[in-house]
Amino acid sequence: MGLSQLYRYFTSALLLGGLIALGGYGFYKVRQYDLTSFSIILESTILTVISIYLLIFLTLMIIRYAVLIMYSFMEHIEYQAKRDNESREIQANDALLPMVTLVVPAYNEGVVIQAALRSLLLLDYPNYEIIVIDDGSSDDTYEKSLAVAREDHNVPLRVITKRNGGKADALNTGMTHARGEFILNMDGDTKLSRNTLRACIRHFDNPNVGAVAGNVKVLNRDNIWTKLQALEYVEGLAMARKAQSFMRAVNIIPGPLGMFRKSVLQEAGGYDHDTFAEDCDLTLKLLMRGWHISYEPTAIAWVETPSRLLDLLKQRYRWTRGILQATRKHSSAMWNPSKAGINFFILWYMLFEGVIWPFSTVLGNLFFAYIGLKYGLVIFLFYWWLQLTILDIVAASYCVIVEEESPYLIMYSVGFRLFYITIIDISKVFATIEEWRGTAMTWGKLQREGKL
């Protein structure tokens, strides 16, 4: 048991001790009057405290949705205006476009690697190269990548094999071998839209922009789980990331699609190995160094998402713990608003989304189910669910319009709130508790189905 773990247990024991002492004192005072009324007073106090807390939480949720939709819409308008002005200019100056290196880390991606690489060879950009980093795969990823490299095409494609060291290590290897002025990091199972490089590169006209985050969409919309994830991705990106982009403070450059200035990546020391969300960690490192991060909605990475519940939980478990690890690593900015500036809000927002939100929704469900069963006040549970569902439907409708997505996704908002997000939130709560306890964890690679 490490010192930090001892400290956590000691702090919790102190808090718990304080609460027990407070409760004991209250019990002693109540006993002086009437013992039978104690349980009633206790229950009513707890229920009142939870009700007030949930009321505050609901208010925050409404504000959150309103602010995100407003900022994301402003970003949408700003983006449309910029695109109209820039598109003709970019087309005309093909010869001036800088070289971009695509780094494709691949660990046991034999099922999908050839389709992924062939789609990369068709990108609409005059000056780019591809580097595949085979991260010590035990399958035929290396041989299959080499076979594509030997095919006749105009794009330089190099395949580098190395001892297994994890995704961060593979991306760092790619960075050291990159010849381009800009680096696009992605996943081995990702398919990019043809305009990706052109769309991302123009953000670097602004010298303050250090990196660009791409849009991620679900490719395998085959069953209820993947369709719900498709909605979740559309909402998360169209609404949240666009709003963050308006403030030039995107908090996660997604693993499947992120473009960086090579110099910025090198200056930041590349990816670190000490968290399970290396993309989030790197993004925070760049933000802390004062770089702006933009979001490009038309650069799309199509990814295969988990189609089975247990695989989905595994992915979310890793994301939750990884994001908490990254937040903790940069937590000094949380307590120093004058120095941290916008990063102060970013970290608190991440903590709200990662910890407070899941805890509150699970608590809300438990609370309203309890008062429904015990006091027959089922109607409160209904209104709690209805309000959150209305927020989801409004957000989904907005995102479907802005992202030009299929309208059927809006219908999934009902199921999204009814069961999907509760199951995800429960796993987030457990993951947070395990992270707090310091339970050991492994990467947990998703088994690909080869839908690319």
């Binding site: 010590g136 069961f419 990467w443």
Partner: protein, 67 residues
């Protein structure tokens, strides 16, 4: 029973069911993870030194020079 009450009852049953299913799914995921054969952590830089010997009995070359 009016429509709202029926809907509220449906939501109550679904909520309780989902809470139970969520905990059960998480337990199943943890159990599956535990039962899966353990793989060495690829990020462990020290695994080269700690690697198991490939011989059943460690090979030690004989020295010709006893001095």
């Amino acid at each position: 029973m009016d429509l709202i009450s029926i809907l509220a009852t449906v939501i109550l049953i679904t909520t309780i069911g989902t809470l139970v299913a969520g905990v059960a799914a998480y337990a199943a995921f943890k159990l599956r993870d535990k039962r899966r054969p353990k793989k060495k952590d690829p990020t462990d830089a020290g695994d080269a030194q700690d690697a198991e010997p490939i011989f059943l009995k460690r090979y030690t070359p004989k020295t010709d020079n006893p001095a």
